[in-house]
Symmetry: C2
DNA sequence: GCTAATGATACCATATTAGTATCTTTTGTC
DNA sequence: GACAAAAGATACTAATATGGTATCATTAGC
């Protein structure tokens, strides 16, 4: 039961680091600091760049920088980018199986938990992580 | 981001059904009611039996029955059986990478969310689902 | 002894996750 | 302009988890 996968995790840390440094950071630097495989890190950063979280500069002296303020980057965004839509689960059974149709208590209870977790998750942004 | 996998889901419903019927139930009956592949259902029930949630009877007239009261079967138990330990995730990075060591805020925040979700999950038992 | 049930086990298919490799493009520096 | 250092694009591979199937052994009632 993993809420966060490895690439999301790496992405979060990369973004945190970049946010703290406040300058253009190269993959090389990130790889050295985080100890993550280079190619993997590259892929992750490229995606973050495509998704408008980071801004990239090619060529010598290039690298990555935040495109938006740390307090405007929420971890659910990052999760969505690497893990798809953030919602816990639907019902696996074929229609008409559930005795109470739309009133399935199991589903209801799980949905409540899901919503609570999501509401909490949604409040976490990069700023709230790095200013500790 | 799946909180519950398919086998857990099937297991939960099977247990609910068995709890409601209050008699020995065969795989055949469950398969008919839930519309789940037979072999898969068998595997799931056998596991539940091994894990002392169900009691099984071999031979003609055999089948499965609850071994403990519905209110004593918590869904986290079932999740643990099919999905391993219920916790959202640890830290993927190698030791000494996190700048604040034991005080990593990201980790802390995720742990809080995890604990809240778990506390809620832990309160759900089979009895609370079926008496709706 | 037959049949209807579960137990044990091994296998297969698919999807997701994690990671690698390679070639192209851009840009600053000499 | 050549070179080197960076990211962009893309395709491939490996490992793991999930979902499911198949088969033979064992037990117990009739
Ligand atoms: S069985 Fe699907 S919602 Fe209850
Ligand atoms: S980096 Fe692992 S806990 Fe912070």
């Amino acid at each position: 039961m993993k809420l966060i996968t490895r690439n999301t995790d790496y992405a979060l840390r990369a973004v945190c680091y970049i946010a703290q440094q406040k300058k253009v950071i190269t993959v090389t630097e990130l790889v050295n600091v985080l100890g993550v495989p280079r190619s993997f890190m590259r892929k992750i950063l490229q995606k973050l760049s495509k998704e408008k979280i980071l801004e990239s500069y090619k060529g010598q002296g290039g690298g990555f920088r935040l495109r938006i303020l740390p307090k405007k980057i929420f971890i659910v965004q990052i999760m969505r980018i690497f893990q798809g839509p953030v919602s816990l689960n639907g019902c696996f059974l074929k229609k008409d199986v559930c005795p109470n149709k739309g009133k399935c208590l199991l589903r209801k209870k799980i949905n409540i938990i899901e919503n609570n977790a999501l509401m909490q998750l949604r409040q976490i942004n990069i700023a709230s992580i790095i200013k500790g």
